[in-house]
């Protein structure tokens, strides 16, 4: 196969057509879909609506509700440990607050717990990868905050609710939008380098489903910049984190959460943590590869927090909806499924088919945009097929250069440019091929405005928690979510531990209850959970595997 500037020669014909229609298209605006039209494309083409996508949850607080099959399997799986494996009388860490998860939400929670008066030695964080190896680090496009005079928190509120099909928890949305400007201010004070003009005004653009320009960004490394700064602050303060150490089970006194059993993934030893409060900040489930989709998520996004919380009696909400990001990379093969930030469309790139023709407004809410792309690829012949048989449509990135001047792509989309450039593609000159990819866990553990779950002593924030985004999250609201609810979780947990005089008993009594429920429902699973990490080892090797201790 001959390659011409990164693409096989047969794709060049279509790329030429995209180039040919570009100038005329630049002036053409697609109509936004009505609510009815949105519903229709979702029903017919969104992966959530496939008949075999979901299963019913048969046990626990959310019994009767639907969730992706892959999640239900984990909820029905056997625990990794039982009472005979661990000595809960020997406590390794005795703290006020344990934070599980070292991404954006967990780090923000740690900082705000400290700001709220909890001594540093009484806060402990654990994370299964390195501190900061998380979806926050990978968030590219931006963070929403209604701070321009043309905008208001009320407008932001309605955008969030409409984007979520009016299924969001309104109280959580109110918190999200009202706290947003304060979060950006806090970031300014910490030294986050947002894109600004010479007078200090943020350069703000739009995102899918937003009716005002309110996307604050730091090139297309927004999450990385925020995460780097938060982590640097955490390190400056000398706060404690256990890396490569995952939580394998929460501990309770039978009702309230009182600690956790952690597992050092390198030495294989366990640690018993006693804590007055536990903050769950474990992120989402992209690495479960729901419906076989590739994912934009980091290596550890295996939905562990859902399993841990559910076994203690927490409730789950909106688990029936999964976010597929409209634009994952569909070519070249080594980066298939990786994120092409919505900022590419925010800056003006249109989504076009094989013939260089637009078929959808580029900034519909994510589920609608994704469904429209799937429709074009699977109900028409207007898609482009890759050498490995994948289908995709073009994201016309060179249009950005036409609209905003030469050099904009390199300047504003450095990460994207670099990613494609590594494989010989210059996205400022040629369009890039795209298809939806598994991106975000819309639902999660139910929380209230204080980031409290239904289980006493257990707080949750960030992607693991549900209700903020309802059944569909808009761009720029997850970086905001991890900050707002991370902050709230830190403050609430600090308040909670101040009033809680004694620490609770450490037991796995909730597991007995859970196992009993599984048994009564006639569920026998071969699987074990939490998953901790996905297994990508080659089949040839695994088929010859021996379990010999060395």
């Amino acid at each position: 196969m001959e390659m011409i500037r990164g693409y096989p020669d047969y794709m060049r014909e279509s790329i030429e057509m995209v180039a040919k229609t570009r100038e005329a298209r630049a002036k053409e605006t697609m109509r936004r879909l009505t609510l009815e039209e949105r519903d229709e494309v979702l029903k017919n083409f969104h992966p959530d609506y496939k008949p075999d996508a979901k299963a019913e949850i048969r046990i626990g607080r959310s019994k009767g509700e639907k969730a992706p099959k892959e999640v239900v399997e984990l909820l029905e799986a056997m625990p990794l440990i039982d009472e005979s494996d661990v000595n809960l009388n020997q406590i390794d860490f005795d703290v006020d607050i344990l934070i599980i998860g070292g991404g954006g939400a967990g780090t923000v929670a740690a900082l705000w717990a400290y700001y709220s008066g909890v001594p540093i030695e009484n806060i402990l964080m654990c994370t299964k990868l390195r501190h900061g190896d998380a979806n926050t680090m990978m968030a590219q496009g931006g963070i929403q905050a209604a701070d321009r005079p043309e905008d208001s928190p009320a407008i932001h509120y309605l955008d969030v609710l409409g984007g979520g099909h009016f299924t969001n928890n309104p109280d959580l949305v109110e918190k999200l939008v009202m706290e947003a400007p304060k979060i950006i201010k806090w970031h300014e004070q910490l030294g986050v380098m947002y894109d600004k003009d010479e007078n200090g005004n943020f350069i703000e653009i739009s995102g899918g489903g937003t009716s005002r320009f309110r996307m604050h960004s730091a090139k297309d490394y927004t999450g990385m910049e925020i995460m780097r700064v938060l982590r640097d602050e955490f390190r400056n303060l000398g706060m404690r984190v256990l890396e490569f150490t995952s939580a394998v089970e929460l501990l309770t006194d039978g009702n309230e959460v009182t600690g956790a059993v952690l597992f050092n993934m390198e030495t294989k030893q366990y640690y018993v943590v006693r804590a007055k409060a536990v903050i769950l900040a474990t992120g989402g489930f992209g690495r479960l590869h729901i419906m076989g989709f590739p994912t934009t998520n980091h290596y550890g996004a295996t939905g562990d927090g859902l399993v841990l919380a559910y076994r203690t009696g927490a409730r789950l909400v909106d688990m029936d909806s999964v976010q597929y990001h409209p634009t994952g990379a569909a070519f070249p093969e080594p980066i298939v499924g990786l994120l092409i930030t919505e900022k590419v469309r925010g800056l003006g790139a249109q989504v076009v088919n094989k013939y260089g023709k637009q078929f959808v407004f580029p900034l519909e809410p994510r589920d609608v945009e994704a469904a429209s792309i799937i429709k074009e690829c699977y109900s028409t012949e207007n898609y482009v097929v890759t050498p490995t048989g994948l289908r995709g449509v073009w994201l016309d990135s060179p249009l950005i250069e036409l609209l905003r001047g030469e050099g904009t792509v390199v300047k504003s989309l450095g990460a994207m440019y670099r990613m494609f450039h590594r494989f010989g593609i210059d996205m400022s000159q040629d369009p890039i091929l795209t298809f939806p990819t598994l991106h975000y866990q819309n639902g999660g553990v139910a929380i209230n405005v204080n980031a409290e779950t239904d289980v006493k002593g257990l707080f949750a924030c960030g992607e693991v928690a549900g209700g903020v985004h309802g059944k569909n999250r808009l761009m720029g609201n997850s970086l905001l979510d991890v900050n707002v609810f991370g902050k709230i979780a830190g403050i609430s947990a600090a308040k909670y531990v101040k009033h809680k005089k004694s620490k609770g008993k450490l037991t796995l009594a909730h597991l007995d209850r859970y196992m009993k429920e599984l048994k009564e429902a006639g569920i026998k699973s071969e699987k074990r959970a939490p998953m901790l990490l996905p297994d990508y080892r080659g089949k040839a090797v695994l088929s010859r595997k021996l379990d010999i201790v060395v």
Partner: protein, 233 residues
């Protein structure tokens, strides 16, 4: 995929020979060969810097560097991931320091030892002008150092290879935070909006939206979407 499966290449992972399909990234090749990564894999998309890799191509003496998740494995490649870089990170209270020209040298005095060999720039998998930002630090030009280092994923390869023992990526973090806090102007809108929120200016409207019936809210939402701000041509 079928096509790829048929064709394999030889790679040497930490010196050991393995046959892997052609077209995999270095990270996927390591996994295909049977290693379940705990260290050495983070975001898997080129943002976290967990998979810094040193490799050598067949018939070359030169050691090259890359992010394992963003680089294709090639036939005859010798490679290893670097699990950790034990570099020093200075502690500082950003509130209490000023963006004075010598501030970075105060926390990272080794920056002054730069011999301008350019090894750091050559070792950067992000292709940043690392040496140029170190030179900017020496000149006290914090803004330039912040700008040039902005795309840094903090993999630590620069520090691992520097003959002058400079910890480029940590020094750059300080430069960027100083820039963000002190050199960039604070947003004027932000102050105003926060004050308005604190004074309860939006409480009434949000309350009204929260008590609105679904149909009315949908109508209002679509109006808002229709009247969305548009880019001026």
């Amino acid at each position: 995929m079928e096509e790829n499966k048929e064709k394999t290449i030889k790679v040497y992972i930490m010196g050991k020979e393995h046959q892997v399909p052609e077209g995999l990234t270095i990270m996927k090749a390591i996994e295909y060969a049977g290693y379940k990564l705990v260290r050495g894999a983070g975001c898997r998309a080129g943002f976290c810097g967990a998979c810094a890799t040193v490799y050598r191509k067949a018939n070359e003496y030169k050691l090259r560097v890359a992010l394992a998740c963003q680089t294709l494995a090639e036939d005859g490649m010798y490679l290893t991931e670097i699990p950790f870089v034990p570099a020093n990170k200075a502690k500082y209270e950003l509130e209490k320091i000023k963006p004075s020209p010598n501030i970075i040298l105060q926390y990272y005095p080794e920056v002054a030892r730069c011999v301008a060999c350019n090894t750091c720039t050559k070792s950067c998998p992000q292709d940043l002008k690392v040496m140029d930002y170190i030179q900017a630090m020496k000149r006290g030009d914090i803004a330039r150092a912040a700008e040039l280092s902005f795309d840094c994923v903090q993999c630590g390869l620069c520090a691992a290879r520097c003959p002058a023992e400079i910890v480029h990526y940590h020094a750059a973090q300080l430069a960027r935070r100083l820039y963000g806090k002190y050199l960039a102007k604070p947003s004027p809108n932000l102050e105003k909006r926060i004050k308005e929120i604190e004074e309860g200016k939006y409480d009434e409207e949000i309350k009204r939206l929260k008590s609105m019936g679904l149909e009315e809210m949908k109508k209002r939402y679509m109006e808002q979407q229709k009247n969305a701000e548009k880019e001026e041509a």
